[in-house]
Subunit: 203 residues, 4 copies
DNA sequence: AATGAATGAGCCTTCATTCAT
DNA sequence: AATGAATGAAGGCTCATTCAT
């Protein structure tokens, strides 16, 4: 039953290599050879650890989601109220802090196109959107609740915010500068405030 | 005695074919042969009318923008005030009326990925974003003006709205159903209202 | 019976265009479209005047030979003795005077490769070599005769000279500068003298 | 556990195949598929071992030069004086002994055409001509020295001889029979004697 | 676990040639 | 005579995947 200890490590190494290559070239033009080279491995080995290139893509989707999740947890650490947790969700996606990874953002954009086209990537992507949206709706509902707002508006607001986050991702990757340098997150915070009403002072 | 030229018509025919194929497969997997077949032509002829596959993509970008432009003009027709013109801008992108083209939406998503990767598609895409954003800022400023709002907020609001529109495009294509069937536009309208404040009654 | 007056002119125009294009690209990469464009015509018209691309090549071979012939006649004009006529033959091939055409030289090189490969070009080329060699042998024999040399050496000397001329052509085109600028002809003249013995003074 | 590399052997195999195919068809019409088939390999494998078809051509140029070099060394083995070494140089190019390779001669002709057209093949070709010419000049100078001839004539004589050798190559390939069967070498020897004066008896 | 060779299918593109006008 | 469109057959090259070692 002894697992080869580098099985997991190797897979992670390959997925990370794909993250970098795919950010620069998109999925189709990320050849297995290029991914292997970026990882410092040989093409054959990639197929030893993954059944196919598409399987690497699926693993990459999970990896990207894990990165987001980790950031959300970290940004939420100091969040004392619903509004702060909402801001943490936005920051997890858009804050350009030291741990930000522009390649990951580019990957999300490329991944969306694959989700559009490949059946099982699409399914996985939709699952993820569902989970994210559920979280976001919860946060919005809490925030509305706290502000004595109309909780029935939560789904629409959550959907709008999620769309805005995805769009900001996209714009940040494709047309950086359109949303002033590094301020995607603050633009989104302003939007959040616009949608939820001004924050209450917590005395 | 010369044969009647038909370049313009043929080019349009090819671009439309690519629109359909690319919506289903993405750019890289839209082979020239598949595009030609969709158009009822031979692969050689595609290259007779376009220098390269990428040139078809550039033409497609223009075509897609023209479609949006035409819709915006049409939806603006009855718009009496800034707020309505703003709604027309949103509807041009997201309304699911009879003239809506889901393939075009899918194409925008795929196109973004190519913009990320191909230098001149990226440049053309950024140009377009610049133009759209300028229009949108104008509309937002007018709307704020009419509502006696703070005009200085226009750039941030416009950027946020544009991001939301792009994101809604993306979600509509990749995960239809997340934003309730056909209501992407109304979600965005609600967001607009949230950002600009309630509409004034025009007595 | 009235010939269309431009039939001949058009053919010449096409052959001259091919001469220029082929000098720059070689035969295979000289597309009919490129030749037509160089001639200011359309591709279809080339095939109206020539059955095939190879037929243009055959016409070009004749054209190139005619250019050489014309030069030989011209350089021979003032030649008073066999030795001068021999020099004229060399100059017809190698002199870099105002009427020299470097493209023609390059074409000869490219043409040789086609002669190697295409049956009927090869045959035409060998015919031409035969004619040239006959002329050259005559000249050498006359020169040996006048110098009281051994006429039996004529074939070998003629063959050697002809090889040297062909080789000088080749070097001039491929590695200009190896044979000092413009001195291919004088190098060949020196070789001729070496082979035939010093010239007699014509008192 | 790794597979034993065989790059060098495979590359040589491919280059030799190209030598044969190119002698018969010229460069452009030597398709990678044909080369692969001649080598008993698949087309994909050719591109696994060479970046491009042109890289095979570059390797072929080196291979051809190595063949000449080897022959020169071999023919020089018994050469006791400058004149014999000169003869060895000529024989290395033109002697039709058992080790002679007519395909190699045809390849040289075809290669010259490519040198005319392709920038880096041209550069490599000119390099080689420079090296050959330097060797030849040295040999001619030694021979003139030994015969108490005018050493200043060495460059012109060397250039003339080299041109004659190249031309004989060409004629031998394109119009065999013009220079009587197998006597290209002896014709060149005669030319050499004509240019350097009669040999001295070595008592 | 790992390597490097090998395959086979497919892709973009070029091009000589034909043809309707 | 002339044009411009159209075709069909390659051709060079890439690449995911398999496999012997």
């Amino acid at each position: 039953m002894a697992r080869r200890p580098n099985r997991t490590a190797r897979r992670a190494q390959i997925v990370e290599a794909m993250l970098r290559v795919m950010a620069a070239r998109g999925y189709e033009r990320s050849s297995v050879a290029a991914i292997a080279e970026e990882a410092g491995l040989t093409p054959g080995l990639v197929h030893y650890h993954f059944r196919s290139k598409e399987e690497v893509l699926r693993a990459l989707l999970e990896h990207l989601e894990a990165i987001l999740e980790e950031r959300f947890v970290r940004f939420s650490r100091g969040a004392a109220n619903p509004r702060d947790r909402l801001a943490a969700f936005v920051d997890a996606h858009l804050a350009r802090d030291a741990s930000a990874r522009p390649e990951a953002v580019a990957c999300w954009v490329a991944l969306g196109t694959e989700a559009l086209t490949r059946e099982d990537i699409g399914a996985a992507y939709r699952d993820m959107v569902g989970r994210h949206l559920a979280v976001l709706q919860g946060l919005v509902r809490d925030a509305l609740d706290a502000a004595a707002g109309d909780v029935a508006r939560a789904p629409a607001i959550a959907a709008g915010l999620y769309a805005a986050i995805e769009g900001a991702f996209r714009l940040a990757a494709i047309a950086p500068g359109v949303i002033p340098e590094g301020s995607a997150a603050s633009t989104l915070h302003a939007m959040t405030d616009g949608l939820l009403g001004p924050r209450e002072e917590t005395p």
